[in-house]
Amino acid sequence: MKRLLSAPSFTSWVSVALLVLLFIGGAVNYTGFASPQVVLNLLIDNAFLLVIAVGMSFVILSGGIDLSVGSVLALTTMVAAWLLQVAHWPAEVVIVTVLLGGATFGALQGVVIHVFRLQPFIVTLAGMFLARGLCFLISVDSVTIDAPLFVTLSQTQIPLFGGAFLSPGAVIALGVLGAGLWVAHCTAFGRTVYALGGSETSALMMGLAVGRTKIAVYGLSGFCASLAGLLFAFYMLSGYGQHGQGVELDAIAAVVIGGTVLTGGYGYVAGALSGVLVLGLIQTLIAFDGTLSSWWTKIVIGALLFVFCAVQRLLSLRKTQG
């Protein structure tokens, strides 16, 4: 017990425990809640958010923030839809193109942040307007995607046990999470990201590649956002400028709930998963309840969020004092 309490990942374990409690609460109260598919749906429905949150984890760990991810997601769906439906490019080429495009968009923001020494918040906020605006330049309407590859990916169900299934998108998202964990903990790049978040001047004086890492972090986030956009496109089979409204805030919330400190340097990429699951579970609970009006929905989401964060915080306070 003592060992567990003093482990640096204690906060993360608290999140997991609370998550389980929340799930049990749902299972007790609502019929049909305790089915494996409900759990898997959490992954299927939030695959795109998980991917974005992994990218966002790196940005936040480095002491920055990326508000453009939701718009980049939308832009990706839009560009992909346009290339597929209007320009009739092959699906594989489209996928590669948009992924490269997203990474470039992110990296360019990184360049602006680094070269001009600007605050990430404001640069990525402008990036958010820009990407969203570009969507509407392509089309204000939503564009249906019917490319066979996308349709297949959208409708494939990877059977697990007892009729439960997972979508390819969810599998990709879990893969991204794994890759993210590996990069964060086993590569020099990952450690430099932590160093940056701990103290940028120190990282500079230690002779670490501050500029390159910063640009790469935003590039990575842009890449994740466009990959999330693809997952979203698989999920919805449409490109639309209004997709992914407010996803940046969800992603930031997920990362922070997962135990990462917004000012950078402390936290785990794995926390992104628990954060995403918490947000997803809250929504599922509300959908299962089905008696809440629109406004009570908001209030209950806020209240659950509060309870979760407060308990998490109090438990970790106890730990540092005990």
Binding site: Y194, G198, S199, G207
Partner: protein, 512 residues
């Protein structure tokens, strides 16, 4: 030793907005030599080092390495050229583990991933050179400033280089640690490394340096062989006095033995300090001596309420109990000057004036304690009294040299006119002359004729300083009091014997 210099700087100029930091500076580093860079606080030593390692770009001047002109644009460039640096303030990442701080930038790898086992082994290996055996997987922030300083040195030592630069590496190390560092440096010198070493300790300079460059007011005063320059001459060159002027000494008065003003009884905190009894009397200077990790800082923090004690209590005039916050201690007339000025002292972006005013104002609350003019006068007064070198009182404190920041923080607490002043390594990074002035000031503050002097708790890793200043010395060992001695009862040697009666704790004490 008459080979060509590895590294040569000529005609270096550097000015910041409104401040000329370097003017026509020269410096030559020879292989197989230790070169001491000496100068008063604010002379431009650190700035020169930052120029040389690519952190600042010089306004003019040339740097040649092996006769080839170079111009490091970034710290990475300097590293690639084989220049390793330990900067003045500890510049490591507190959130990373000790091992990562040592290896970051050049991690040992295996199959494309960081080989953590080797990383940890490497870190232990370099730290072992300095006899430091700590948990290298723990985050750096867990350790005291002195340990952090050793880690910073270890980082520089890990990779073999051609030039090693150390900016006040010993400012918070005790003697034993300094000796271990010197052993390592001597070995490196034999291997042909050029070492640039900044310190304010003359003993250390003469123990190690082959060559000395003296800087004054941003200019090179001259380059000398250590053997040719006497201590007195060196000091006078630094301050710009005629070569044979003797420092004036203010003779100290007898110890004050007033009534107790601060009493700690059984004050302790699990994992930090065993229950400690301590009594501080009016008008005395009480020295706390001990090795690194002996618990001096911890004792000071508990006395000030920076950490909350979980045993015992503190007694002052009209208050008895435990502090729950520094505010309570401040209200009871206690002041505490932390050893970690960068993280616990200076508000870097604020002006010297605001920094000096802060504690006084915080005690008064929101109501302004004085008008703008009075603030100005107060700040100017301290700047003059303590010889703080700054363009003006409105300069952000972060732009001052390390030693001058330290003085400004000392001024912050003096301004509150406390009854009890706790000074944790107040002489850290202060030049020779200023150190003497500070110690004289400390004694003068305590020893008032009318018995109204302050009570001062003086902590320093410099044993001579402690002995010189204190009326009474309490020795800490392994986080508990190991003896108390009156002034004159001990000399340096016997204190060392007390301190080292048992082998010093070399492992992290988690539970007491």
């Amino acid at each position: 030793m008459s080979t060509a210099p590895v590294l040569e700087l000529t005609g270096i100029h550097k000015s910041f907005t409104g401040v000329k930091a370097l003017a026509d500076v020269r410096l030559r580093l020879f292989p197989g030599e230790v070169h001491a860079l000496m100068g008063q606080n604010g002379a431009g030593k650190s700035t020169l080092i930052k120029v040389l390692t690519g952190l600042y770009q010089p306004d003019a001047g040339a740097i040649t390495l092996d006769g080839q002109p170079t111009a490091p644009k970034r710290t990475e460039d300097a590293q690639d050229l084989g220049i390793r640096t330990v900067y003045q303030e500890v510049n490591l990442c507190p959130n990373l583990s000790v091992a990562e701080n040592i290896c970051a930038g050049r991690f040992p790898r295996k199959w494309g991933r960081i080989d953590w086992t080797t990383v940890h082994a490497e870190a232990r290996r370099v730290l072992a050179q300095m006899d430091l055996d700590i948990d290298v997987t723990a985050p750096l922030s867990r350790y005291s400033l002195s340990v952090q300083q050793m880690v910073a040195i270890a980082r520089a030592l890990r990779i073999s280089a051609r030039v090693l630069i150390l900016d006040e590496p010993t400012s918070s190390l005790d003697d034993a640690a300094v000796q271990r560092l010197f052993t390592v440096l001597r070995r490196l010198r034999e291997q042909g490394l050029a070492i640039l070493f900044v310190t304010h300790f003359l003993d250390q300079t003469y123990a190690l340096a082959d060559r000395i460059t003296v800087m004054r007011n941003g200019e090179t005063e001259g380059e000398y062989l250590a053997a040719d320059l006497s201590r007195l001459a060196l000091v006078n060159k630094m301050v710009g006095a005629p070569p044979d002027q003797q420092p004036s000494r203010l003779d100290s008065q007898a110890a004050g033995t007033g009534t107790p003003v601060l009493k700690a009884q059984g004050l302790g905190r699990r994992g930090a300090l065993h229950p400690l009894d301590l009594e501080l009397r009016r008008g005395e200077v009480l020295g706390l001596a001990g090795l690194l990790g002996s618990g001096r800082t911890e004792a000071a923090r508990l006395l000030f309420g920076a950490d909350t004690a979980d045993a015992g209590h503190v007694e002052t005039d009209g208050h008895q109990g435990r502090w729950h916050s520094p505010r309570q201690a401040i209200a009871a007339g206690i002041a505490f000057c932390s050893e970690d000025r960068k993280h616990e002292g200076a508000i870097l972006d604020l002006s010297v004036r605001d920094n000096i005013l802060l504690a006084l104002q915080a005690r008064a609350g929101l109501r302004l304690v004085m008008t703008r003019e009075q603030q100005q006068a107060l700040a100017d007064d301290y700047i003059k009294r303590l010889g703080i070198k700054t363009a003006s009182a409105e300069t952000p404190i972060g732009q001052l040299s390390g030693g001058n920041q330290q003085k400004a923080l000392f001024a912050r607490w003096l301004a509150t006119e406390p009854a009890v002043l706790i000074l944790d390594e107040p002489t850290r990074g202060i030049d020779v002359r200023a150190k003497e002035d500070l110690m004289d000031a400390v004694r003068a503050l305590a020893h008032k004729e009318d018995g109204s002097g302050m009570s001062i708790l003086f902590i320093s890793s410099e044993l001579p300083e402690v002995l010189h200043c204190s009326d009474r010395v309490v020795v800490l060992r392994d986080r508990r009091a190991a003896g108390e001695y009156r002034r004159g009862e001990l000399d340096e040697r016997s204190v060392l014997e007390v301190i080292a009666a048992e082998p010093a704790a070399t492992e992290v004490v988690t539970d007491v």
